[in-house]
Amino acid sequence: MKIAVCIKQVPGTAQVEIDEKTGVLKRDGVESKMNPYDLYAMETALRFKQDYGATVDVITMGPPQCEAIVREAFMMGVDRGIILSDRKFGGADVLATSYTLSQGIRKAGNYELIICGKQTTDGDTAQVGAELAEFLGIPHVTNVCRVLKVEGKSITVDLDLPMHIETAAIQFPCLITVEKGIFEPRLPSFKLKLATADRKIEWLALKDLDDRNEMHYGLNGSPTQVKRIFPPESHSGRDMWEGSSGELAGRLFQMLKDKKFLQQAR
């Protein structure tokens, strides 16, 4: 089985600065890391590799410094890395990103399974996986929280939906996006770091893709208009309660319920 995992480099902390005019992330001078949700996607793929003998490729789009996360993927056991990097890809919204990834994946090979994380920690849109599947013309399911079985030409998974768990069987080739916690991601290995230090990474630019129309990529290919971007409001009030443990527990339960922090029990 050939598996591709889509990964992204994101800022290392939650304090992300965003250019207020363009709505684009300011990456200069910011420590970065692999999108934490992508670690779950990669771990899922690496378990398939262990259990079924798959090969795992990672593909990412970004500026040249995103090589760091591909190297890190190698340190976790990934076989091959592909980077889509071109100034013309810059400023892409989810649609242009998904399209660029779909072009890159078509170029990279025929995959039975494409795995994406639930979302990224910088944009938080959670749309790229689904849009990518549409561009590739393959079926997809999102919110995968468990893999039940892999049999012949299909995979059976549980989907963690707001009010219930849905079990779905989906035929290859397909795309799944996985939930945080589906597996505990492994840590990068120093031994693999030494062993893969010289491994080549494949770089793809616009000229390497089938569709070379600039208007389909980057800012040009992005219909999204960012009106305003701002950090979410936060409150740090403190409320001290005194009372018996029974009273306090009841009061706390009521407060969590009123503020809608409690999900309906399944």
Binding site: E31, P36, L39, E184, P185, L187, P188, S189, F190
Partner: protein, 469 residues
């Protein structure tokens, strides 16, 4: 012999204490919550006759003055997270719940000192200073402990290898003496050769000499970059024997912890989440910090190579908040997880010279077969402080006490032979008094009691702890 004859608390005392402390701050008799009658491990349960929640040094002073005149025992308490019964009021009397005195009073950025009240929690300190680019290095596992409790036990924690322990960061203390006088020891000075270092006698005195009401802590600039290495080994011996090689190499880790597979599995079950790796029998966990990424990269490469050369199966790198969280969440839950896996347990918190760690752990482990009980351990391999737990499991009360006594005698005996001490960081409290007396010997215990008598002639401050009757 020290005095243990105290006046029993009566309604007149309660009325007086209510009049000076405020009625709502004085809780008497059965209204005292059971939480105040025990700590997290020591297995003793004693009820204070009256619980006082002071809000100021002045109130502590008034209470001590009264207790001194009336000959009533007083036990100060932080969050009750101790493990040796230090905060349990063995003789009843007054308990001072210091957790309400929890204000951060001043951050002096010119002197890099933080002044605070004793009830501030460790997790509040680290949040406060780290938000401002500063660093309070002592890092005990129990983050909901108060700084007052940490000062009282001279708490250590994970970063001791590189940064030292609580005592190294206490610069000044305001304390209330047994008779109610308020004095200050030390201050915002870096050097001090002015007579006996009284603040250092108070640190680690477990509330037996005075009540700490204010502390001045030394801070450092925050090292911006952190990285941990989780290093699997084929067995515990090869893991522990690698530690001196790492310490000898150029880079000093902030922490060197060892852990065994069985403890990791217990933590996984307890937390309901998986550890990043559980395939090996033994692990070392190394942490590095530094001002730049380059500095850390250099340090960890050296250490990783040292480990591989010493027989490590691999070296896993934890370089992001999420990864560190997945490791340290488990590490932080070890104690609770072991506790949940058995019916009862007791702990040996010995500290031995670093080069003897491997020998001591092997010895402790060998007692499992000899006495037919389960023994679990994890701890700070880098500073020689071990946490070894004897588990009760199916043993009956008498059998458990008997076996535990034998096992602990063996362990403390061996620690003594190796040049070790009874407690690395949890203190003596009530539970380890006998072992301390054996370990220190008559002369030193005599001196210790002399110091106790100088501070507390009526033996009313936390009686029955460390060295007092």
């Amino acid at each position: 012999m020290m005095n243990n004859q105290y006046k029993a608390i009566d309604p007149v005392d309660i009325d007086y204490l209510r009049s000076v402390c405020g009625a709502e701050r004085v809780i008497a008799g059965k209204d005292v919550n059971d939480d105040y009658c025990h700590d997290e491990l020591a297995g003793i349960h004693c009820r204070p006759d009256v619980l006082i929640k002071p809000q100021s040094t002045a109130v502590v002073s008034v209470v001590m003055k009264y207790a001194f005149e009336q000959n009533i025992p007083v036990t100060p308490r932080g969050q009750g997270t101790g493990l040796v019964g230090g905060s349990v009021p063995i003789f009843g009397g007054i308990m001072l719940d210091m957790s309400g005195m929890n204000r951060i009073l001043e951050l002096d950025e010119d002197n890099l000192m933080l002044t605070l009240e004793p009830g501030v929690l460790l997790l509040e300190i680290s949040k406060f200073v780290e938000d401002r680019g500063l660093f309070y290095p002592p890092d005990p596992g129990e983050k909901t402990a108060t700084i007052g409790g940490n000062i009282s036990t001279n708490a250590g924690g994970m970063r001791a290898v590189k940064y030292g322990v609580t005592r190294d960061y206490v610069r000044g203390l305001e304390v209330v003496l047994a008779d109610g006088r308020i004095v200050e020891f030390g201050g915002k000075v870096v050097k001090n050769s002015s007579g006996y270092s009284m603040k250092d006698i108070i640190v680690g005195s477990e509330g037996t000499l005075a009540v700490v009401t204010k502390a001045v802590l030394r801070l450092l600039p925050l090292p911006k970059f952190k990285l941990s290495l989780l290093v699997p080994f084929p067995d515990l011996s090869s893991a522990i024997e690698t530690v001196p090689k790492i310490i000898k190499s150029r880079s000093i880790p902030t922490a060197v912890e060892f852990m065994q597979r069985e403890v990791i599995l217990a933590a996984e079950e307890f937390l309901g989440r998986k550890f990043p790796d559980n395939s090996s029998d033994a692990y070392l966990l190394l942490t590095f910090d530094g001002a730049s990424k380059e500095e850390i990269d250099l340090a960890y490469h050296d250490a990783a190579q040292t480990c591989l050369n010493a027989g490590a199966l691999d070296v896993f790198i934890s370089n992001t908040q999420e990864r560190n969280e997945s490791i340290w969440a488990a590490r932080g839950a070890f104690l609770e997880a072991i506790k949940a896996s058995t019916t009862g347990m007791d702990e040996c918190d010995v500290v031995v010279p670093r080069r003897c760690v491997a020998e001591f752990i092997k010895f402790a482990s060998s007692l499992q077969d000899k006495y037919h009980i389960r023994i679990r351990s994890f701890g700070h391999a880098g500073d020689g402080n071990l946490h070894i737990y004897a588990l009760r499991d199916q043993l009956g009360e008498e059998e458990w006490k008997h076996t535990l006594g034998q096992v602990f005698n063996e362990m403390y005996g061996r620690a003594r032979e190796l040049g070790g001490q009874v407690s690395g960081e949890h203190g003596i409290g009530f539970a380890k008094k006998g072992f301390l007396a054996d370990s220190l010997g008559v002369d030193i215990i005599g001196l210790t009691r002399g110091i106790k008598a100088a501070f507390d002639p009526k033996n009313i401050l936390n009686p029955g702890k460390i060295c007092s009757g």
